[in-house]
Structures are given as C-alpha cells and as structure tokens.
C-alpha cells in the first residue's frame, strides 16, 4: 500500500513463485535454456532431438503417472520397476511365444499388472503394512515372478523346436506399430500413450470423486475417514492404478525391445519417484498433480538429452543428475 506499483508487482511475483506449477515450469525453463546454450552444434534445435527425448521419457513417465497418484495418498510404490519387468515378460510370453492376438494379450497383461497393484494395496489398506514395506515386498516378488515365468531367459520371437534348434518367428505387427512414429515420423506412439495416461490420470485427480478422495486420504486420513471417505477402497484404487500403468509401460517396453527381458525396469522406480519429486509433488501426500509430473518428466528428459548430445560420460551424468534432483527440491522449498 505504501509503494503501490512496485509493491504489487513484487508481491505478484512472490505469490506466483509460491505456486508449485510456476516453480516446476521455471525449473523446466532453466534446463531448456541450458539446452539452448549447450546445443551441441545445433542438434538441440532439431525437432528429432525433442521427439527422441519424449520417446525416451515416455515409459518412465507412464510409471510416474501411477507414482503420482500413490504419492498423493502419502504412499510410495517401489514395485513399479519390477512390475514393468514382469508384465513385459508376461506380455511377450503370451504374444510372441503363445501367439495370442493383441486383443487378448494386452488385456491379460493389464489385468496382471492391476492385480499385482491391488495386492500391494490390499496389504496396505487391509493389513496396515507400511507402503514402503508392502511395495518393497512386491518389488522382490514380481521380479521373482518375471524370472520364473521366463525361466530366466529373455522372451523373444525365437522358439526352440523339439530337435533343439531355434526357429525365428516374425515380430507381430502390434509390436511394430507400438514402436513406430506418427504424423510424418514426428511423434512416437509410446509418447502418445504417455500423454493419454497423463490425461486420464489428470481427469481422475482433478474431476472425479475418487480423485478427490485420494487427496483427502493423503492430506489427513482420519479426517477423511470421519467425513465418510472410503479410505481402504481409495488406497486400493491408487495401487491398483499404479499396477495397471506399470503394465501399460511394460507392454510399451516389450514393443520397443521386441522382447520381454526379466530384468527390465530395474531401478525405474527411482526414476519415477525422481520425476514426481522434481515436478514438485510433496512426498508427504495430499498435494500435487499430474501437470507437475508431466513437467518433471520433461525436466529429467531434457537434462539427460542435453548431457548425452554433449557426449558427457555416464559417470558425470549420474552425479549431475543427483545434484539436479537436490537443486530442484531445494528450489521448490525457497521461501515457503
């Protein structure tokens, strides 16, 4: 009131910076700027670089969608990497080895993923096991299942004949089309699937009653329960959806690799958590949203892309990524 013009605009900027979305966008813009500066002889300026970044981040982004939902309920899902591996193997087994058509294999894989997620959710909701422990157990268990059903081998189109020799079948068209690019080779199909997951999760979180329940349970479980929110069902939904999205990611991964690798997805859970956190969704639960996760996914995606086009070696790349995660989280906290 004393200094109307400057005071108002300053307050405006400060208030804007208090919004998580603006902070997340600022971090993304900063990384993007880095890319413009270190553009590796203009390769950052080509669309194909961005397309490949988006394609690369899509599988992680799909996992991060489910992770966002779980983290909003003040939980965590450590099993997403293993579930991706398991569903990738399961899907490959059905379609490559047993010759199931995609119309059957896809729903079967999705169901398997959702069932595993529901199992974790059941342990958490019904038996009150801490999410960290329950999903840690599922992480180990699902990895075991992946190795068991595959016999420890990668599941590909190679079929062993009774006489011991291998016969190679053609890769099904469904795999090819999942792994292709559309709109004049300008966007990958998996990226579109990722964006569809973002939209669906976003609608759930922002518009639907169960979405509101997720926030209420994460923000204050007891208050939610006394307000008539079905707490147990809400947690089942969160982990079930996460498992379902793991299967979506697993199918995409299988299509990209044209095989089901039982060790696929190791440590992917950490990347998914990092994406959510860099976006600005708080691990304490009750806050955040899918938009933040989309921004977080792009931030990490660009970061890795910029480091790789500038031929930064793996060791400094990992160390830098660690530092950036800390930096992003500290930035989220400034003056809050």
């Amino acid at each position: 009131m004393k200094a109307p013009s400057s005071g108002a605009s300053q307050g405006g900027v400060r208030r804007a910076l208090q919004s998580s979305a603006v902070r997340a966008l600022a971090a993304l813009a900063f990384v993007f700027l880095l890319g413009l500066v270190f553009n590796a002889d203009g390769s950052f300026l080509r669309w194909s670089t961005h397309r490949d970044m988006l394609r690369h981040i899509s599988v992680f982004g799909i996992l991060a969608c489910g992770m966002t939902v779980v983290i909003i309920t003040a939980g965590i899902d450590l099993s997403v990497g293993s579930l991706l591996g398991f569903t990738a193997v399961f899907f490959s087994l059905l379609s490559l080895q047993w010759g199931w058509p995609p119309g059957l294999a896809v729903p079967a894989a999705l169901l398997a993923g959702a069932a595993c997620g529901l199992a974790s959710g059941g342990l958490i909701a019904r038996f009150r096991i801490q999410p960290f422990i329950a999903t840690l157990a599922m992480m180990v268990f699902a990895r075991g299942m992946a190795k068991w059903i595959s016999g420890g081998r990668k599941i590909s189109t190679a079929v062993q004949l009774p006489d011991g020799s291998f016969q190679y079948k053609g890769v099904p068209g469904f795999f090819q089309s999942l792994n292709s690019k559309l709109l004049g080779e300008n966007i990958a199909v998996v990226t579109l699937i990722f964006l569809a997951c973002v939209v669906l999760t976003g609608v759930l979180l922002a518009k639907l009653r169960p979405g509101r329940h997720l926030y209420a349970v994460g923000g204050n479980e007891e208050a939610a329960r006394l307000s008539g929110v079905p707490v147990g069902r809400t947690k089942l939904l969160a982990y079930g959806l996460s498992g379902f999205l793991c299967a979506v990611a697993g199918i995409c991964q299988a299509a990209q690799e044209q095989q089901g690798d039982p060790v696929a997805g190791s440590t992917y859970e950490l990347t998914a958590i990092a994406i959510v956190v860099i976006g600005g969704t708080n691990l304490m639960g009750g806050k955040g949203g899918i938009g933040l996760t989309l921004i977080g996914a792009m931030t990490i995606g660009y970061l890795e892309k910029i480091l790789s086009i500038n031929a930064v070696g793996e060791a400094p790349r990992l160390m830098l990524t660690g530092l950036i995660i800390v930096g992003a989280v500290l930035f989220q906290r400034v003056r809050k």
Binding site: R209, G219, E222
Partner: protein, 505 residues
C-alpha cells in the same frame, strides 16, 4: 523489575503485517497474560521472543542488554523457554531422558550419567508436585503429564521466562487446576510466566498483568485487577459484544434420537468398555450437554454413535423413529448424523486442501452426481458458507491450514452443516477459538436448534455448558450417572457430579 523488554517489534508474513511496532515488557515473578483474538499476533510475538521467528524490526533487551535469538535453542540457553504441546518431546524416550535432552549430565569421558539424571529429574518433578516412574517412555503418559515434563525441562535450562501458548486446551479441569498451581509456584520462584489463553476464567485466575493485542498492535497493558472482563473483551474485539451467550430460543420437540443401553468397547481391547449401558433421549431443537472427566467416555460415546469405531458397539439406537445401527461414518452421514471432533488438526481438517474442498468433503456424493465433481456448484456453496459463517479467507481456494483457528473451526462446522444433518455431535466446538468467533458459534448453535436440529454437546468450559445446554448428562467412568435440567444445573452441582464425589440423584 523488567527482565525482558521488546520495543518496536514488527513482523509480516507475505502481504500483510502481523505485528506493527509492538512494545512489551515482562517482569520477574509475574504471570503475564497475552490476550487477543485469533490473528491478533499473540503467537507470533511469543515465537519471536522464543527465537522461533525472526523479527523484521525492533529490539529485544534481556536484563537491559540487547539480544538477538537465532533459534529456540539459542533462546533457551539464555533462559527463555516455550512450552509446546509435545513438539519438543520424544515420546519413545523415558521421562528422565526427555527432561535432559540436549542438556545431558555427562561424567568426564564416560558418557551420560543416567543415575544423576534420574536423581535430578525426580527432584525437579518433585518441585512440580509430580511423582512419576522415570524409566517409562513418555508416550505412556497423558498429554497433561507431558506438559509438566516440558516444564521440568525448562527448569533444567534454568528458564527465567516460561512461555505457555494455550496450555490448557487439551487438559480437563483437574489437570488444568494442577497446571495453575505449578504456574503459581513458578511465579513465587521469581520466574516470569507468559500465558496465552482464550478462556476468560483462566485469565483471571492467573494473571498479574494483561497485555491486549488487536490486529497486530498493542492495545495496552493492564493490571489484571484493574481490568474487568467486559472491558478486556471489548479491548480484544474492538467493540462491545453484548451478551456472551444467546438466550436459548428453541423449544425441545419430539425425540429424534433414542439411545438405550448403548455400550462402546475400549479402543485398546474388547474386554473393557469405555461406555457402558448409556441411555438417553435427544429431542428436536434440544442441546444436550455432556460433562465428565477425561476418560469418562464422552468422546467415545460420540464416536461410537457416529459409527467411527465400527460395528462393535452394543445397544439399541433409534433415529427419527427408525432403528439405527452405527456401522461406518458414510452410513451415519447419510442418516443425518454429523460428528465434530475435538481436534480439528488431527481429525477435522485436511489442511492442504482449500476451503471449498474441505467444506464439500463430507457431502461429496451430492457435489458429484455420477462421480463427476461439479466444481462450480462446489464453489458457490463454499462462497455461501463463507458468508453465512463469516469466515475470513482471501478466497474459497485458500488452503485451510493457513487460516486462523477460529476460521478453521468454522470451516469444519460448515463442512458438517453441508451434509444437512438432523443430529450434530459437537465435541468441544469452541476449543482454541477466539472470543468473537465463539460468540458467533453459540449464536449459530442456537439458530440450528431453532430450525429443529438437535445437538449433543461436549465442552470442558463450564460456563459454555451451563449456558448452552437444555439438559446436562454427567458421565463418570463410562456410565451416565446423573442428569440435570437447566434449572437444577448449578456450577457446584455439575462439577461435583463430574468428579464423582457428589451424592447421586
């Protein structure tokens, strides 16, 4: 003699100033009450004093020397201790270890001298009139004892100024009386006690001097004896409030809730009952008050009726003439029950959600036909509630956690009224709420009953209980012992019955 002086203290959070040029002093051997409505700046002022907030401007003098505290531990080292509820205690550690946390008695190079600590702890607690098993974890004791342990901890730090911000809000009458006794002992030991409370009765039982804050400014500092209660309230609110309690208009009609032989199992195990064979009727337009010590089963009765404890309750309940079986909160809400718990932070609000989303939380099905939330409908209802309850919020999108206590409580009340309840179970509806907001809540309660709603009320404020209740039921050890009509209920009778000492009948 002033131990402590603060001059020209200023502080603002974000846009608005919270404290403007506040001068204040505290003397040795006095109980100094800070009074004011929620948002007046009391808590901010003592947090600055205790080193928890940095000031924007102004100076602090301790024994005439200028000081600056960087942190609460820094302030504690200089003899200024704040008593919080639980916050600085480790519940899994023993009583003795808590008292010496950060100030362990160490034998040369041999680690902590646990025996000496126990001896000293016993002596300190003795000074406070307390005899505890020092080797039990602190979490085994009730909140009142934990508070005493905090005070003992302050004594270890040789605190000369002890700050208590609403210390009685979670204590019952007996426990509060004991705390007051300790406060008087501290004062007689030449320590200064700074005391924040919304309860006038407490203020006048303790205060030597009263400083009133309003809208971040100091209205004045008065000798307690020279400031009658109505002038204190006027100074806090800035206007005359009129009568504190409304005259009850509603006339009780036909019964809406019949409870017969209702029993609630103990939360810990099924063997014990926290409520045994309770029977009573509640009529349309009636406020039925419950009184009893902590642990007498009042809150458990409310939770049990509301279905918050599941289906393990026994007895017969009739709601508007039809059988009602408590099962789960959602079912109870559909049948027209609402439960306001006594701890809005723990079980009333979702602090990170907006005003509008908190208000719609208990009636979401009505706001989301087909599962799709109608946000405009939600915002309109919220705006109406903000007006009806006179809630001070920047917008209905503001996070509830950032509102003051009185406004938070109104949001929780609005949430329950939004479910269109027939019977409201109100457990301490005015706890931690300032005088002005209390006044409004009383008026609203009267208004709701005038519309035919019925209220079950628990309150530890005797004046509130006597003024608002049409009838009073006394609970003792899980049983409904006595009932008083409004005409029979005198403070002495009710208190004696609650303590279980009075003759029954």
């Amino acid at each position: 003699m002033e131990i402590l002086q603060m001059t020209g203290i200023e502080k603002s959070f974000g846009a608005g100033p919270v404290l403007e040029k506040v001068d204040w002093d505290v003397r040795a051997g006095e109980v100094h009450v800070l009074a004011g409505e929620n948002g007046a700046g009391k808590t901010t002022l003592v947090k600055i004093l205790a080193g928890a907030h940095a000031r924007d401007a102004g100076e602090i003098f301790l024994d005439g020397r200028r000081v600056s505290f960087r942190s609460p531990s820094d302030a504690a080292r200089r003899g200024i201790s704040a008593i919080h509820q639980d916050t600085s205690l480790v519940l899994s550690m023993t009583v003795a270890d808590n008292i010496f946390l950060g100030r362990e008695i160490v034998r040369r190079g041999l680690g902590v001298d646990f025996r000496a600590q126990k001896r000293k702890a016993r002596q300190l607690l003795g000074q406070l009139g307390l005899d505890l098993d020092l080797s039990l974890p602190l979490g085994d004791f009730p909140v009142s004892v934990r508070q005493m342990v905090e005070i003992a901890k302050a004594l270890v730090h040789e605190a000369r100024v002890i700050i208590m911000d609403e210390p009685t809000s979670s204590l019952n009458e007996t426990e509060a009386a004991r705390l007051f006794e300790i406060i008087r002992r501290l004062r007689d030991g030449r320590r200064a006690v700074v005391f924040i409370s919304h309860r006038l009765e407490e203020i006048y039982r303790l205060a030597d001097r009263i400083t009133v804050l309003r809208d971040g400014r100091r209205v004045g500092t008065f000798a307690a004896a020279a400031l009658p209660p109505d002038r204190l309230v006027a100074a806090m609110v800035g206007r005359e409030l009129g009568r504190q309690f409304p005259a009850r208009r509603a006339v009780p009609g036909r019964p809406v809730l019949r409870v017969r032989n209702f029993s609630v199992p103990d939360a810990a195990g099924r063997k014990a009952w926290s409520v045994e064979e309770a029977s009573f009727d509640l009529h349309e337009g009636e406020i039925l008050g419950f009184v009893g010590l902590q642990g007498s089963g009042k809150s458990e009765l409310f939770h049990g009726l509301f279905g918050a404890l599941g289906e393990n309750v026994r007895g017969r309940v009739e709601l508007e003439g039809e059988a009602f079986r408590p099962r789960c909160p959602a079912a109870s809400i559909r049948r027209g029950l609402a439960l306001l718990t006594n701890d809005r932070k723990r079980s009333g609000l979702v602090a990170g959600l907006s005003v509008a989303r908190n208000m719609s939380l208990a009636s979401l099905p009505a706001f989301s036909p087909g599962g799709w939330i109608r946000e405009s409908r939600e915002a309109i209802a919220a705006a109406q509630n903000v007006r009806a309850f006179d809630i001070r919020a920047r917008s209905v999108g503001q996070e509830v956690g950032t509102l003051s206590g009185g406004n938070q409580q109104k949001v929780v009340l609005a949430k329950w009224l939004e479910t269109r309840p027939k019977v409201l179970l109100l457990d301490e509806p005015t706890v931690g709420v300032d005088v002005g907001a209390k006044h409004e809540i009383y008026r609203m309660m009267d208004g709701w009953t005038a519309e035919g709603k019925a209220i079950l009320l628990i309150t530890s404020e005797l004046a509130e209980l006597l003024a608002m209740s049409d009838r009073i039921l006394v609970m003792h050890r899980g049983r409904v012992q006595t009932s008083f009509d409004r005409a029979q209920a005198t403070p002495e009778r009710v208190v004696r019955a609650a303590l279980g000492t009075g003759a029954v009948g």
